[in-house]
Amino acid sequence: MSVEFSFLLVQALSGLASASSLFIIASGLTLVFGVTRIVNFAHGSFYMLGAYMAVTIVPWLLQIERSPTLFFAGVLISAAVVGVLGVAMEILLLRRIYKVPELFQLLATFGVVLMVQDAVLHIWGPLDIAGPRAPGLRHGVMILDQRFPAYELFLIAAGPVVLGLLWLLMHKTRFGILLRAATRDREMVGALGVNQALLFTGTLFLGAFLAGLGGALQIPRVSASAQMDLAIITEAFVVTVIGGMGSIGGAFLAALLIGQLQAFGVLIFPKITLVLVFLLMALVLVVKPWGLLGRPEAAPPSAMPEGIASPGRFCVFEKLLVALALLVAAMLPLFGDAYAVKVATEVLIFGLAAFSLNFLVGNGGIVSFGHAAYFGLGAYASGLLVTKLGMPMEPALIVAPLASGFFAALFGFFIVRLQGIYLAMLTLAFAQIAYAVCFQWVEVTGGDNGIVGVWPAPWAASRIVYHYLVLVVAVLGIIALRHVIYAPFGASLRAARDSAARAEAIGIDVRAHRWLGFTIAGAAAGLAGGLYAFSKGSIDPTLLGIPLSVDFLAMILLGGMQSVVGPVLGAAAFHSIKDVFMPLTDHWRFLLGASIIALVLIFPRGLGGAYASLRARFTGGAP
């Protein structure tokens, strides 16, 4: 035995300390999801705010007296302040959008994330802020022959204490019982006359409080920095999903698993800690589709399907509009400057990618949080063929959708067996695994530096010629996908989305249809990715990253996912907003976040939805 026992013990304790911290944060996320069904991206922001509050409040209290009591009082005050911020978010934002499709709520919370990031930079400045150590817990404790931080022993205890308190709250108080009831059946709780507004506000307070507590408890270990929100949110999601969304006990179990996996993972695979948790999540979801302790989502989707209901045909006026848009895109090089052409090229590429995502989400009801993976894989396929094998641009562009389609088929085989949020998280897990491979396989992919020199063939090198190339390819791609939506195959996908059981009953092989749909959408995204690679001249792992996946989601939601051509409109709107704000100010993320929230509030069904209701008003038909 080459590794001594005392080391293994201390390493396990390190894992327990991480697990405790992770559980406190994830418990809040899972609670909020259980009751409100909102996938709250802003939970990571609450965690960050908790840390920033604590590094502000705690030193101030410790000036009075350096006592452990005041330290922990400061931590609890910080958490409470964050809880109040959670209430503010519920009252000002979430309350207005409970009725809109769940994905919109997710998008709105993402807007909050962007705004909080810039607000934190503005208030606390760009330097990381290190908090004070906890008085009385600064030292190390000897465990066998190894020194272990006393504060981490405290953290190890804190997790189970929070779990116990939550159990008491859930089982011994009226509020807790209502929380559990709402997690099981929200409509029924409302029907029984429970004040839902109060219940939801209370839930948000508790959720944000727990996130803030998690952040505040970290200050003796890590400095408060403006990047800590996104670092924690994916991990918190992984914990809640592995545990089963809405299950606090499951979150505890999952946090323990992940803590130990990381503590011992660094010994065996020091380079792949990045992806270890996602591998675990993929594995758990393939074996247990509802997480470790989650319950199957009993309730059928809401009565009104979120997505394309019955695709209408263009009327004459709309045909004119589409023709006009195409004409503008085609004539742009004549009246726009070089930069306008460049932006238009990108809008067309993103338009195709967004259309392919809505083919999945709006038409198939398959929500993907990892669509950028197929976009990025297409870009990598083209880029690698051109730079490593010296292949010309044209065949490389043809390979892009084939490669992406292949991986979409491979991942999709597992993905389409799941449903709802679990399905979405499995798409995320596969996307992160693909990201990690591109990131880590330095010899082939160039690692995070990526590969440069992916430029178009000489005949297409000028901005204008490449613009026309993209215009033709993207429009053909969109027309082809649109054709599939109108074809019987598209109708079958919609049937499977609205009622899998009924679709099966009339002889539709639901799983096969969804699998094929997933593959087609992945291939189309790959085509867009190939076009993108040649427009930028380089490929790198950010093309497969979560931020780009979220951008694609934002595009289809802004455009309206119940509309067939809306996503293209959304891509144009989103890209333009970003392009307008980025040169204006350092705080462009704040403005982008505010615009997203404003659009969600003003057009809760997206731009496409707004147009549809306008049209209904004029034609007198039902919306």
């Binding site: 760009p126 330097l127 190390g140 020194r147 400095s223 990045l274 440069v452 040169p583």
Partner: protein, 406 residues
């Protein structure tokens, strides 16, 4: 006395520059202003990039108050956020070149962004003056005619630290580095070089936590278990704070020699506060100890205008403008081919002394300071710091030729 006088004058100069800017381009009677596009991660990497931009504005205003460049033309920077992704950065670079009509572009922080912009510049045949990205690839395997880098590369900074370890006796080394290109290539350079400074040195443990997500307890535990004599650290930012705190509590650094990249830069040293370890050998910027009246005047002018102490980013920003102003005066043309040729072995007198843009790999000879960490009044500082001139630590010429033969 001299420095105080200069400080005031610089302050006035700054004011004059602002006033001139407020009256618009017409104020520059001697000719159209020269516009340079500067794209950087002002939003994502604000701790470094905001002081960097501040100092650039300070330097440009001082230059404009004393007659501008190229015989009296004003020097203007068009600042843009690069979005911190290659895709966004290339679009922003395109915007700067086509819509803002800048003479050429400068900046970028992240290596992947720098490399993408570099290749874009090569494609468009426009000068790209890379200031911050550290990746060796930028001037080596993926170097191109239009890309020049000012700041000492990963290789150069690693080599400075390794040289500082010459004569030490520690043989068993552990490496901890963030898991991305900068960390990986610093580790690879270290492995290559350490044997020459300490014969018989071996690497007995390596840890590569994900950037921004170090699991400090597990990482420190794994390193301690290997019982190294010495540690080479590449972590920085929030990862560094977490690592140092955990290591202090668990006694990882006791009786161990530590070499640490960038730790002495104020951006990363200030957050360490009273946890700053004693006696690490680091690269950094001890702004309060740098000799020379020019540097003292810079510090005073910077503090007076921004009410803050200069960071490493500030120094880099100021030196960037000094080199670019010298380049414009020497080239006396905005033709990018002329500019690129003028950069070849261009020697400039700057805050850190002479900086030469070596022609063979298009790398600047700007150096950095190497010293030991210690504490004063609960704040981390560097002691026994000396300026390591980049010219002494560059890649050997034959290696450059082999890498850049393409």
């Amino acid at each position: 006395m001299d420095s105080i006088f200069f400080g005031r004058r610089a302050l006035l100069a700054g004011g004059a520059g602002l006033a001139a800017a407020a009256t618009g381009r017409g104020a520059a009677a001697q000719g159209a202003p020269i516009r340079i596009g500067e794209l950087n991660s002002y939003s994502r990497m604000a701790a470094f990039c905001i002081p960097y931009r501040n100092a650039m504005q300070l330097a440009a205003d001082q230059i404009n108050a004393t007659g501008g460049v190229m015989g009296g033309r004003r020097l203007e920077f068009v600042f843009r956020d690069d979005g911190s992704t290659p895709g966004d950065a290339v679009r922003v670079a395109e915007e700067l070149l086509t819509r803002e009509n800048v003479a050429f572009i400068a900046g970028t922080f992240l290596s992947n962004v720098g490399l993408a912009v570099s290749d874009f510049a090569n494609q468009r045949k426009r000068l790209f003056f890379a200031t911050e990205p550290l990746s060796d690839a930028l001037t080596m395997a993926q170097g191109n005619r239009y890309t020049w880098r000012l700041r000492p590369s990963t290789y150069m900074q690693t080599r400075m630290l390794v040289e500082a370890a010459r004569g030490k006796t520690q043989k068993r080394w552990a490496i901890v580095a963030p898991n991305y290109e900068y960390g990986q290539s610093a580790a690879a350079n270290f492995k290559r070089l350490i044997g020459s400074a300490i014969p018989g040195a071996e690497i007995i443990a390596e840890q590569y936590p994900a950037l921004g997500r170090v699991d400090a307890g597990a990482t420190v535990g794994a390193l301690a278990q290997a019982r190294p004599d010495a540690i080479f650290n590449v972590l920085f930012g929030p990862d560094l704070t977490a690592f140092v705190r955990e290591g202090n509590t668990r006694g990882l650094f006791e009786r161990r020699f530590v070499l640490s990249m960038l730790t002495g830069e104020p951006e990363y040293m200030i957050p360490l506060g009273d946890e700053t370890p004693e006696g690490w050998v680091v690269t950094g910027y001890p702004w309060d100890q740098v000799e020379g009246s020019a540097h003292r005047a810079f510090v005073e002018a910077y503090r007076a205008r921004f009410n803050d102490t200069p960071r490493k980013g500030s120094l880099l920003g100021y030196v960037t403008v000094q080199v670019l102003a010298n380049l414009l005066n020497k080239a006396n043309s905005l033709d990018n081919e002329v500019l690129v040729d003028a950069l070849r072995d261009l020697s400039s007198d700057t805050l850190v002394g002479n900086v030469t843009m070596r022609g063979i790999d298009q790398q600047g000879s700007m150096g950095t300071w190497v010293g030991e960490t210690t504490q004063r009044n609960g704040q981390g500082i560097m002691r026994n710091a000396r300026y390591a001139d980049g010219a002494d630590y560059m890649f050997p010429e034959e290696e450059v030729r082999a890498a850049r033969r393409a």
